[in-house]
């Protein structure tokens, strides 16, 4: 079933929408969640919560990119769950590694000129990414949005793991400069 038809089911409040969503995007969302959490059980719960949130958001929302819309919900729910697990000192998934890598984008002063809302930061990052070559964009998003491993990221963009690592290293450096230039960092 295509996205339009599924969205029509949501708008009609037909619960078949959830079944069709799970059929089409279940694996996609489970993968995102599992990459972050490293646990199949937790991922499964997150995906179920994702369908519930989608059900609650549509309507009034009518996402233009349905897949990304669902993926974003799954990702956020997974990060929430990861936060809760961290509080209980339970590890797993790629998240710790990603956070460690993203430290490189933070300046040493760690002082913000202004705190950005999540969406505002997302917009800023999107503008920066749109300036990057396609392959670089994909590498960055696969690594830090989808929480792909380095090897998976490399396979996606068709290069060696070392090359992907090198590429991401330069991108993080570039991002830090960009954020400073944009006045986000003091």
């Amino acid at each position: 079933m295509d996205d339009e038809a599924i969205l029509t089911l949501y708008l009609a409040r037909d619960q078949e929408a959830i079944r069709e969503t799970d059929l089409k995007y279940g694996a996609y969302c489970r993968r995102i969640s599992q990459q972050i959490l490293g646990s199949r059980e937790d991922a499964e719960e997150c995906v179920n919560d994702t369908w519930l949130q989608a059900w609650n958001k549509i309507p009034p929302q009518r996402p233009q990119y349905f897949q990304a819309f669902l993926g974003r919900i799954a990702r956020n729910l997974s990060l929430d769950r990861w936060d809760r697990r961290q509080a209980k000192k339970r590890g797993g998934g790629q998240t710790n590694v990603l956070l460690s890598e993203l430290e490189a984008c933070l300046p040493s002063s760690d002082v913000l000129e202004r705190r950005l809302e999540e969406q505002e930061l997302g917009n800023l990052l999107s503008r920066w990414l749109f300036q990057q070559p396609e392959k670089n964009r994909v590498a960055f998003v696969r690594r830090y949005w989808y929480a792909d491993s380095l090897a998976e990221t490399a396979a996606r963009i068709g290069c060696s793991t070392g090359a992907a690592k090198s590429l991401l290293h330069r991108m993080r450096h570039n991002l830090r400069n960009y954020l400073e230039k944009e006045g986000v960092w003091k």
């Binding site: 996609y28 930061l121 997302g122 990052l125 998003v141 996606r156």
Partner: protein, 494 residues
């Protein structure tokens, strides 16, 4: 206020949906592989500029059809020698990809097969089309005077690369050919930047631009190449064109002696395979490894250690800073610990070309402490490290069998440590014991357990006879693990 990486990770979650979808649907473009032809072209350049005997393994007969070869990937090349010749018509937007207006033997890049035949005729040997990747095929036509490489990316066959060897009578559109002098070439291409070759190549120079390469040699004849590979050289080029202290991979042992002298200690010759021998020369600060695949010895690998004074053409040497490496080689990459290369060091290193066989810089405390180039030809694993039999059996001297370990024999290297093999006279006696790998390969051990030889044979009896009568072998250091294994033959290892 402090932003944390966690907040940044959250912010990334709010990326534009188009970026998210793009990353989900993205398909990596097919890898561009320039097969053996590129390496051959580079090697042919060496042949062309060399007036001395050279590298039988590197030479090629242009009239023969080469066998299909595994592709050579094309990472960034050596930045130490690149130069630019602006084309005569650089602003020609109609064919920006090609060396605009240039022809070699009357053939231009981008021509169809029919057009090439119209110019050169049909006296050529053609290779079979090779599918290098999806929607990307190539083949070569070998004329007596010129090699023509075509590619088909789904829109038909077009000339992608042209090469004339040093004895060709064909010329560029400017009349420049194999006999042209340096002055004539500079007159024809006045804006050309010349990259002088140092060391052994003092009598040669070469030009390179987005399409035209000329390797000059006044004695053997120039080698000329026209290609659509802009400023991008394959690992083959990197390996054969990179000079360290006047040394280039592929040199004969005699030429190495001419450059560095004879103040070296040579290891014993090791026969890794029936057609692959190696030997290492230890100079102060430099370890040079030669190989012989049946056509004579050639320099296969160079390693500079921390007391070396040799440098690359870029001036980079041991003790250069990491920043200097990055400046000299902007495309250098960082090898990650998880890269599947053999003998990975504990810390990442920088490399150009192939991570396993390119130009590598080992850095510690911001300074280069070692440099490696090569190998030009990957060495096969020693026979005893590439066995596939699942069971290793130890025979006692009387031939009785004791099962020692049940595991993939390819991991036998963890049981045996074999180092510094040296030729040795072995006792004319039967081995004390031997390892039977179950696939016709035996490792016979003599004396105190430190003298061993690998044998192959279909029948144990015959092989035993050989083990007893053959009087030469290699000296192997066997580690204590194996000795322990002999003492406790029923133990197994994970």
């Amino acid at each position: 206020m402090e932003m944390t990486s966690k907040e940044l990770l959250r912010g990334i979650g709010a990326l534009d949906s188009a970026l998210v979808e793009e990353a989900e649907t993205y398909q990596a473009p097919p890898a561009r592989h320039w097969g053996r032809w590129v390496a051959v072209a580079a090697c042919a350049a060496i042949v062309a500029v060399a007036s001395w005997q050279l590298l039988p393994r590197l030479t090629t007969k242009t009239t023969e059809t080469p066998p299909p070869q595994p592709p050579v990937t094309v990472p960034s090349g050596d930045q130490g020698v690149g130069t630019v010749i602006p084309s005569d018509d650089a602003d020609d937007a109609a064919a920006p990809e090609y060396a605009a207006g240039e022809t070699l033997g009357g053939v231009a890049l981008g021509m169809t097969q029919e057009e090439v035949e119209a110019v050169l005729g049909s006296d050529y040997d053609a290779t079979e089309p090779r599918e290098q990747s999806e929607n990307y095929m190539d083949l070569c036509w070998y004329y007596p005077d010129i090699n023509v490489r075509f590619v088909d990316e789904g829109a038909g066959w077009f000339v992608q690369e042209l090469m004339i060897p040093a004895d060709s009578s064909l010329t560029l559109s400017t009349g420049i050919g194999v006999d042209s002098t340096r002055e004539e070439i500079l007159a024809a291409y006045p804006d050309a930047t010349v990259a002088e070759e140092g060391g052994l190549w003092s009598a040669s120079m070469r030009y390179a631009d987005s399409g035209l390469w000329i390797f000059l040699d006044s004695e053997a004849g120039n080698y000329i190449r026209l290609t659509t590979l802009p400023l991008e050289t394959g690992n083959g080029d990197l390996l054969t064109n990179t000079s360290i202290g006047g040394l280039t991979l592929g040199l004969s042992r005699e030429m190495v002696e001419n450059v560095l002298g004879t103040d070296y200690e040579a290891s014993a010759v090791t026969e890794l395979r029936a057609n692959f021998k190696t030997v290492t020369w230890h100079y102060p600060g430099a370890e040079l490894r030669f190989a012989d695949t049946g056509d004579g010895w050639f320099l296969n690998h160079i390693r500079l250690s921390d007391d070396s004074t040799l440098t690359l053409a870029t001036g980079i040497g041991v003790h250069s800073t990491e920043a200097e490496v990055w400046a000299a080689y902007p495309d250098v990459q960082v090898a990650a610990a998880e890269d599947p290369y053999p003998e990975s060091p504990a810390s990442p290193f920088l490399y150009c070309g192939d991570v396993r066989g390119g130009l590598r810089f080992y850095v510690e405390l911001n300074a280069v402490y070692a440099i490696e180039l090569g190998p030009l030809t990957l060495e096969p694993e020693p026979l005893w490290q590439s066995l596939t039999a699942a069971e290793i059996v130890v025979h006692g001297a009387d031939g009785s069998q004791v099962t020692l370990i049940d595991r993939a024999a390819k991991n036998v290297g963890t049981v045996l440590t074999i180092s510094d093999p040296e030729p040795a006279e072995k006792p004319g006696t039967a081995p004390n014991w031997w390892l039977d790998f179950g696939n016709g390969v035996y490792l016979a051990v003599y004396g105190q357990g430190d003298l061993a030889t690998v044998y192959t044979g279909d029948h144990l009896d015959t092989t035993l006879e050989t083990m007893t009568e053959e009087r030469t072998g290699v000296y192997l250091d066997l580690d204590s693990t194996l000795e322990s294994a002999m003492e406790h033959p029923t133990e197994t290892w994970d």
